[in-house]
Symmetry: none
Subunit: 88 residues, 4 copies
């Protein structure tokens, strides 16, 4: 019965291993980020404010990208894009 899951089983094992490895690294980064906040706090910064700053900068960035996307859409709609997409 072991043969039934042979090759697929091995492949599955590898996918699971890769995902778990990446998730470990991700968890480590989450921990690192938490540490930086702790260090900032130790230097007198209000972590709540710091988190807000990070969040706001993220929103700003997203907004800039949105605006670029809208501009592109308008140009597209106006037929002014040279080799852009246009396919639906």
């Amino acid at each position: 019965m072991a043969e039934v899951v042979g090759i697929a089983g091995e492949q599955l094992r590898q996918f699971v291993a890769r995902i778990e490895r990446l998730e470990e690294e991700k968890a480590a980064l989450t921990a690192d980020i938490r540490e930086v906040y702790a260090e900032a706090k130790g230097n007198g910064f209000d972590t709540k404010v710091l988190r807000q700053v990070i969040k706001l900068r993220k929103i700003d960035k997203a907004e800039r990208q949105e605006m670029d996307a809208i501009l592109e859409l308008y140009l597209e709609a106006l037929g002014m894009m040279a080799g852009g997409g246009g396919e639906e």
Copy 2:
């Protein structure tokens, strides 16, 4: 055995009914929104652009609120708020 679920069962029934009622209303609004997009499309607007506009305005609004929150936090941090907290 019916008595076992008597009172709790009736309460559950009512919670379920209330939630389902609200979800129906919500679904109706989703349909309404879809119709407005369809109408806009019928008037020559690109719904993709329109959705971007709505999304951008939402981000703008959120950003404004974020900025207000940060300002408050800074003022608080500077001890300029009358009854503010500061405890962590």
Copy 3:
């Protein structure tokens, strides 16, 4: 250049306003639903279970409607439908 967006601009403004209005109402309903779950929780119900109940009933309902649709198709195929409404 203001004229370029004149009429279309006004129309766009109105579509945006209508969509935003509807989305606000929808958000309010989402909040209401959340409150009902909170109230249920306060009465000792497990919200996770409650959500499952709602979901199951939704699936059941969809299945029932599918069965009704199939029944209708059969009746139609048999030429037994008058032509009356029933549609929503």
Copy 4:
């Protein structure tokens, strides 16, 4: 008024930079994980099942760690632990 934020400002800038760097790496890992799932799907695996497998293994692992922790506590209580750490 620029001096007010001088040194603290520079420090803040650095904390922000470090956090944003780490968050970028984290986002990259999220994307990598997504890709692995996509690759697994391309090899015929059901991603939903795969995600469940990962989740179950995570729970199992947590349980094993809990059991290890309990074992440690017992050993400790029995005075059989040298003095090794374990505390964080």
